[in-house]
């Protein structure tokens, strides 16, 4: 999972044909439709990669 749009695993169903209405929240807090530590970490890794300071997420 390099980008938020990439599915974290086969359980992610978000697609143009079947868009997930929780997609935006899922990027930061997900996964929301299933429980998985690796899937959670994959999202956190994207956030950490881009967060250049502690204030970055304090929007």
């Amino acid at each position: 999972m390099e980008k938020f749009i990439d599915p974290c695993c086969e359980k992610c169903f978000n697609s143009k044909e079947k868009p997930c209405d929780q997609f935006v929240e899922c990027c930061l807090e997900g996964p929301l439709c299933h429980e998985s530590e690796p899937c959670k970490k994959a999202r956190e890794a994207i956030v950490d990669k881009y967060s250049h300071s502690s204030a970055f997420r304090e929007h």
Partner: protein, 613 residues
Amino acid sequence: MYERHILICAGTGCISSGALDIQNVLIDELKKHGLEDKVRIIMSGCHGFCEKGPIFIVYPEDVFYCEVKAEDVPEIVEEYLVKGNMVERLLYKDPVSEETVISHDKIMFYSKQKRLALRNCGVIDPENIDEYIIRGGYIGLKKALQMEPMEVVNEVKSSGLRGRGGAGFPTGMKWQFGNSSPGVKKYVVCNADEGDPGAFMDRSILEGDPHAVLEGMLIAGQAINSDEGYIYVRSEYPLAIKRLRTAIGQAEKYGILGENILGFGFNFKIKIKEGAGAFVCGEETALLSSIEGKRGVPRHRPPFPAVKGLWGKPTIINNVETLANVPIIMRSGAEEFASVGTEGSKGTKVFALTGKVNNTGLVEVPMGISIREVVFDIGGGIRYGKKFKAAQIGGPSGGCIPDEHLDLPIDFDSLTAAGAMMGSGGLVVVDEDTCMVDMARYFLNFTKKESCGQCIPCRLGTTQMYNILEDITEGRGKPEDIDLLEELATAVKKGSMCGLGQTAPNPILTTLRYFRDEYEAHVIEKRCPALVCKALLKYSIDPEKCIGCQRCIKACPVDAISGEKKEPHIIDQDICTRCAACFEACPKKVLAVQVVSEGLPEMKELAVSKEGK
């Protein structure tokens, strides 16, 4: 996981000053030191402090290097990134205290600002949608999609947001008109036709945070039941257009633009229309004509665009900065947004601060801040210790505010009461060396040329006003011209069809209101107190000071100066074109050339040495 992040400002200004060269050298240097996997380079949008660009910030420490050149990069990498030694010479030095400041948030230019519309500019990579999402992006859209359209309208109404493009019309009310207008097809238009000379607020937002504008448009679409939007942006903004196109492509890929957005059954597409650069196309009905492929001239209102706009369909038109504020309102709530600002003007305003201040650039301040704070705290005061004379707020359609109103709060109503206007956000500071009559002439020249010519008051009125101002600044002014100018300005303001003509006289009316004595000096005494208007100046050489070095003779392009070596020189006033070449050429230690504005014989001669000037 990176150890460090380096943000290089990649706004148009810093790119012009070599930001891309800095990036290339940095890539090479990081490789050379084996740091390419430890340090991430982010080419961000505008940081605002254009005076000090290119800007180079190292995180997480927040070390602010400024005026960086490509040749400085090896030193930054070697000394700071590798050895941990600060590169002192590239740090910011406060112009008043002369103290070195390391972190950008400790710099006065930034510390008094409140960045809402510019929240992501200079913070994220504008070409990376993931960074926008991490910063809370598209949460506001999600909330809007969960609400009924009128609930969205009411939220924006409650926030007190007023249009940032000029007139300050309440955004929520405009959306309400759009919502209640009958019709299946409606449009949302983003007015990105930023035309004021020196203004670059909208360009910076588009370049630095394009998704914020897209999100604002999507929320507007939900509010008025529209499925299509246009961004009208001038073609002179190629970087903004490129980043907008990238952002639109990403949003479509992410299911945030297009069909069935985020699974809510809401459809919305956004198209970009490049404008040719006519100032009048910033007027909303002219803009609509231009999108339709017609000549960009205003239409009569009513009907207003919210009722009959693009291709005859209900259309709401919002400025870039206005739309960039909308996601914050939806995400954080109207109440929080309304907690910033004054009773009648909520939130913040972005200004392009330019002119005779030490710190020029893009600033975002809470509504209600005083002009003094903007000029002296954020702007760092007047250059070379000169005296503040006035602030021209609102660009060529705005008005000037003199020093006695320095404590005037910056909000829509206070500025209007003072004869100026918020406008789109141009803020030009002028000092004692600026002639206010000449400044009014300068702005009139702009609006005269940009008048579309459709209505008589504007077409002929701006030309006549300009001609009178030209007469006054060239020494042909008559005493009755002042009253005539005032009468004409009032008539053009009242009689013009669109905002261009209605506001074009503002620079005249405010300079007449606050600096009438300068007009009188020009027409009655035939002198320019600020020593600007060439026709009213005379250059002369003080024979007591002249050392006969002949530098002025060599510099004079029209051979108006004569004199033997080591003998005092003389300027032939009949030949002199008042180009000031002699004034510039005279050695600083000598200062024999003087510029004077004599006025009538009985007037005391006003002479200023080179030092004084």
